[in-house]
């Protein structure tokens, strides 16, 4: 199993929890991000995720390294699924083990925030009456490149 991977098949989160477990670990946090049916009153029919796969896997591994450096004794594993996902499907799984529970929560939340910052993955929401790449929402109104 690749501990930092972009996958196209359904994610089995237990594999990632098992990967990070060690005799020194007192706590494992497992986060799964799911396709939600309703967002701000709009019904999602399905999502489509796209990634720049080799760079995305590098960035996931970088996040894992950041975690292991920042919180001693932790181990992390992360996977993100791409392609078409239905309601309740797992889009992302983050597993973190740690000797102590507080760290396991903190490091796990750090991972999802970093994924949303630096990992080249894009989400398109498909509704009954349209679709949108979610990054578009951040389009600058001034019409200028960043």
């Amino acid at each position: 199993m690749k501990p930092f991977s972009i996958v196209t098949e359904p994610i089995n989160p237990q594999l990632y929890a098992d990967y990070v477990l060690r005799p020194e670990a007192g706590a494992v946090t497992l986060f799964t991000g799911h396709v939600r049916e309703w967002t701000k009153g709009v019904q999602t029919v399905f999502l489509a995720y796209e990634a720049y796969v080799p760079m995305a896997e590098k960035k996931l591994a970088q996040i894992g390294q950041e975690i292991e450096e920042q919180w001693e004794g932790t181990r992390a594993a992360i996977a993100h699924r791409i392609g078409e996902l239905q309601i309740s499907d797992i889009a992302v799984v983050i597993a973190v083990s740690s000797p102590h529970r507080k760290t396991a929560y903190e490091a796990n939340e750090y991972a999802i925030e970093r994924i949303k910052e630096i990992v080249p993955i894009w989400k398109k929401e498909i509704w009954n009456d349209g679709e949108q790449w979610i990054g578009d929402q951040k389009k600058k109104p001034e019409g200028e490149l960043r």
């Binding site: 995720y49 720049y52 990054g135 389009k139 600058k140 490149l145 960043r146």
Partner: protein, 77 residues
């Protein structure tokens, strides 16, 4: 020759996943200007650039064989 990869809304705008250009020696910022000349609709999109799978600066100079990627705002998770 350098290869430029497109994703998400930018891919849909250009109608292709990637293109090759004979632009070795130019900076990332210059590449951006040339792409906007070719695709005027690209103007106004918030974009970062990656060179060989790592985020790049506008002043980085492209070399023969480089893989460039246009990175619109990411929305994973």
């Amino acid at each position: 020759m350098i290869t430029v990869h497109y994703f998400a809304g930018i891919r849909e705008m250009t109608g292709t996943h990637k293109e090759n250009f004979d632009w070795a020696g130019v900076t990332v910022g210059q590449l951006k200007e040339r792409l906007i000349q070719k695709y005027p609709q690209m103007q106004g999109n918030s974009l970062q650039f990656a060179v060989n799978e790592e985020y790049a600066l506008q002043t980085d100079i492209l070399s023969e064989g480089d893989a460039v990627a246009l990175i619109p705002p990411v929305s994973g998770g």
